[in-house]
């Protein structure tokens, strides 16, 4: 499935990780937006209306859980934007909490290849169509 032209927002404070995702997803022809903290991330969700969001949890200023909580309070069109959580927190309580707040998937960064993330993005974009 081609995801060219889709808008993807990466909310990740680790510059290196964000760049790696940006390069890999950039090759798929998507339009990328990035945010380094939760507050900026939520702002870009509202201003850019991405097709999908990749969200880290441990972020400065406002964390990823906050982004999920606040996004759930917004309009229906914002609420339905799928969010994939990318985190190094691998405990069941964190995964369940993120899912209960509306994350469509939860990836533990250390154990997942970049290609697997791209495949998951494609899968969820297809589902959202």
């Amino acid at each position: 499935m081609s995801i060219a032209g889709k808008k993807i927002l990466i909310i990740e404070d680790d510059e290196h990780i964000a760049r790696v995702y940006a390069i890999k997803l950039g090759k798929e022809g998507v339009t990328l937006f990035t945010a380094r903290d939760g507050e900026d991330g939520l702002g870009k969700i509202q201003s850019e209306i991405p097709d999908i969001v990749l969200l880290d949890l441990m972020l400065p200023i406002k964390d990823g859980f906050w982004v999920l909580e606040e996004k759930a309070k917004l309009s229906a069109s914002i609420k339905k934007i799928p969010v994939i959580v990318l985190s190094n927190l691998g405990q069941a309580e964190d995964i369940n909490h993120a899912r209960s707040l509306g994350a469509v998937d939860y990836i533990i960064k250390a154990g997942t290849s970049i290609q697997a993330v791209v495949d998951l993005v494609k899968e969820h974009l297809k589902k959202a169509e």
Binding site: D63, L89, Q91
Partner: protein
């Protein structure tokens, strides 16, 4: 005279009631916690978890950095989360020096170590640790909860 004493006692009780809610859980009050941990990924996760619980963690990646922070703002810090295996000065030496310092000797310290060896635990307790938790025995959320409750 007796009348005024009774009045004063009643007033004191009223003030106590107004400032201390019944059943208030003091362990849930926000605390300023100095986290001394050099593993950056673990450090970030600890800070994240403490913040989620409403506390105010302060970061130090070495004993030397923690010493500088304590010099400037020891009064603000409620307790210390201390790793043992640190670059430079190790956690036990940091603890030993802390306990020699009159300004810091009563500061609560929980040692969080990868070592479950009794010798290490005994040494830490002997040097004045208030508690000793072995990292591998618990998940991070449990450790965070234990540290906060024990504080």
């Amino acid at each position: 005279m007796l009348h005024s004493k009774v009045k004063r006692d009643i007033l004191v009780k009223m003030i106590e009631k107004s400032t201390t809610k019944e059943g208030e859980d003091h362990s849930k009050k926000p605390k300023h916690i100095l986290v001394v941990e050099d593993d950056r990924a673990l450090h970030k996760a600890i800070i994240f978890k403490l913040k989620r619980l409403g506390h105010f963690p302060i970061s130090a990646y070495s004993a030397e950095e923690a010493t500088e922070i304590l010099k400037k703002s020891s009064e603000e810090i409620d307790f210390i989360w201390l790793d043992i295996l640190l670059p430079g000065m190790d956690g036990l030496e940091f603890l030993r020096l802390m306990r020699k310092n009159p300004a810091l000797k009563d500061k609560k310290v929980t040692v969080i170590s990868v070592s479950g060896g009794l010798m290490m635990k005994d040494r830490a307790m002997e040097l004045g640790a208030d508690d000793y938790i072995v990292k591998s025995d618990h998940n991070l959320s449990d450790i965070v909860n234990m540290v906060v409750e024990k504080s």
